[in-house]
Symmetry: C2
Subunit: 354 residues, 2 copies
Amino acid sequence: MAAMATHLQTTGREPRGGEPRGHVAASIADVAALAGLSAQTVSRVSTGATNVRPQTRERVLVAMAQLGYAPNVAARALKSGSFATIGVIAHQLARTGESHTVQALVDAANDAGYTVALIDLQSPTSQDVSVAVNRLSHQAIDGLVVIGAETTAPATISLPPRLPVVVSDARFVGDHPAVAGDDAGGTTLAVHHLLGLGHRTVHHIAGPRGSVPAELRLDAWRTALRTAGREVPEPFQGDWTAASGYQAGRSAAADPTVTAVFCGNDEMAAGLYRALSEAGRSVPGDVSVVGFDDIPLAEYFTPSLTTVAQDFQAIARRLVDLLLQQIREGAALKDVHSLIPTEFVVRASTAPPR
Amino acid sequence: MAAMATHLQTTGREPRGGEPRGHVAASIADVAALAGLSAQTVSRVSTGATNVRPQTRERVLVAMAQLGYAPNVAARALKSGSFATIGVIAHQLARTGESHTVQALVDAANDAGYTVALIDLQSPTSQDVSVAVNRLSHQAIDGLVVIGAETTAPATISLPPRLPVVVSDARFVGDHPAVAGDDAGGTTLAVHHLLGLGHRTVHHIAGPRGSVPAELRLDAWRTALRTAGREVPEPFQGDWTAASGYQAGRSAAADPTVTAVFCGNDEMAAGLYRALSEAGRSVPGDVSVVGFDDIPLAEYFTPSLTTVAQDFQAIARRLVDLLLQQIREGAALKDVHSLIPTEFVVRASTAPPR
DNA sequence: TCACAATATGGTTACGTAAACATCTGGTAG
DNA sequence: CTACCAGATGTTTACGTAACCATATTGTGA
């Protein structure tokens, strides 16, 4: 009930006050009157219906232009039940990976004729997600993309019934179609690459506890080492930020057995670079480093960072595809789980051990 | 007329098909019937009106919960003329500076009870901006924030009349309220810092031609040098990307007279770092480097980057404030130009020349 | 006890659009 | 020449809400 109350308050704003001329936005009736036609005919022109004489259509278009007519989206939405809008729930938009997904998502949605209503969560808890969804209310959006709930099980998010939803989540639990980058696959490539160069084992700076991609990468790293019969060292605990990578890096730099580090993301790799540099250990001479995500800056780290590239574009396109499919067909797609492959990009931060 | 046609087509989608039970979303009338009250009373509860007996309100809330009622946003918007939504036009959202502004903007808008409808432009030309605006149509949003038009004069953007608008633009031309970081001030601080360290002059890697912030930083750099009576070297031409900074850096590294470089943004500074490193010139020993923006990674460059920090939060808050003020008061705020101060952050990438 | 005020609740209406159905026009085939 | 058909246009209606005005109910003071 508490959650429900969040969308029950009005904003208390009045419609915008009048220009000098009592020039309220022109409606379809005004256009009809000016053109000497019925409102229905105007509506037909504005929706692109074909059964209108070219000459009549022209008359309507002229009247529209003259009045600066634009269809009232609210009325249209009320009538049709659709807003041509999808909701996107993100978490810390400015985090590099997230912002790429969101940009790609916005572009994909726009291409499909949809506007994106964006909510940015401060914290990605189930409750906050639920509140955010209710805020958009279940009729203001035609569908919902949840990409910011990395520490939350999608199944525990309370959603309006019948609202098409897709989530970006690699666990593939719950009923919603899900799309994610191949965290495990990318991690395996990274570990094998480093072992293949001759490193005896690979250390890891992990993302925050509870984060799904962080856990998946951690597990895959552990599994890859075990499968290869290598020792699994204690992972360093990070939180995605460069600062945490730096902290972890101070410990790593002090440990002479560390010759190869797989970082949970590129930002933490940047922090590690600096810690190693301060300790006088060179990359890749003394320590090889691999990142994850392939942010634009990764190529211009010094040295250029070897990393696991995520295809954010592909992830976003797939998310939008799956969502629109549900919206159009009116049916929930259950058990659709799409894993977008990662690409391993070898640059200059990895080398055989000394 | 061509532009107008863009918002006249419907999407041709049918409303979502029925669940097994003919369970269309509950309306205010359904709630009223279940509670044994009039629709009006239900409406009062849902809008938070005070003149309802607590006992009656409770009856309504129970009925709402039972039916899973949520107000129909379209109907509400149609009645009130307001969507509680603001449009945001961005350009290359994933660019670091931009994504911070957008995140802060979304947060500020959400705090004020507004949803953000986001459009990401591929190219920031006047025409594209106009098309994007028309796409949102002038009644789907209560106001518009334009932050992605850096190569476009706001005055040349065709906007629906009477739509409250704010732009993020430091030129302050045209009628719209504008907010921007203090490009010139920040640049001056950077140049003075470097001259103060004893450098004879300061080189510059500029942002793309035509970009407003790029030009402002370029001009301010030139002016600061002239004012100080220093030689003004030919600037290097970049385009905001690390790749362009690297290119420029190759030339800079080859020129022994270059001892201090002011970069148009932090990404280009990253590219410069690498070029200098490859040429065997150290930062800050041989060359001092200053960036612009203070992206989160800047502190973890190796060495830590001295840069001009922009307060994206403050910019966004001010943009939203100015927009909401116009929306609420119904009057356009002309000639409101707000310059958000920058902060100069001294880190480890600058030092006196050898 | 009753009149009156204050508060609570109900009925009617309009917001702008587009679907469904009705009517009108012009042309064509029998 | 007429009946009919197809296409063009008009009329009516409903979508869900909240403002406005009308009415019912409660409580208070004389």
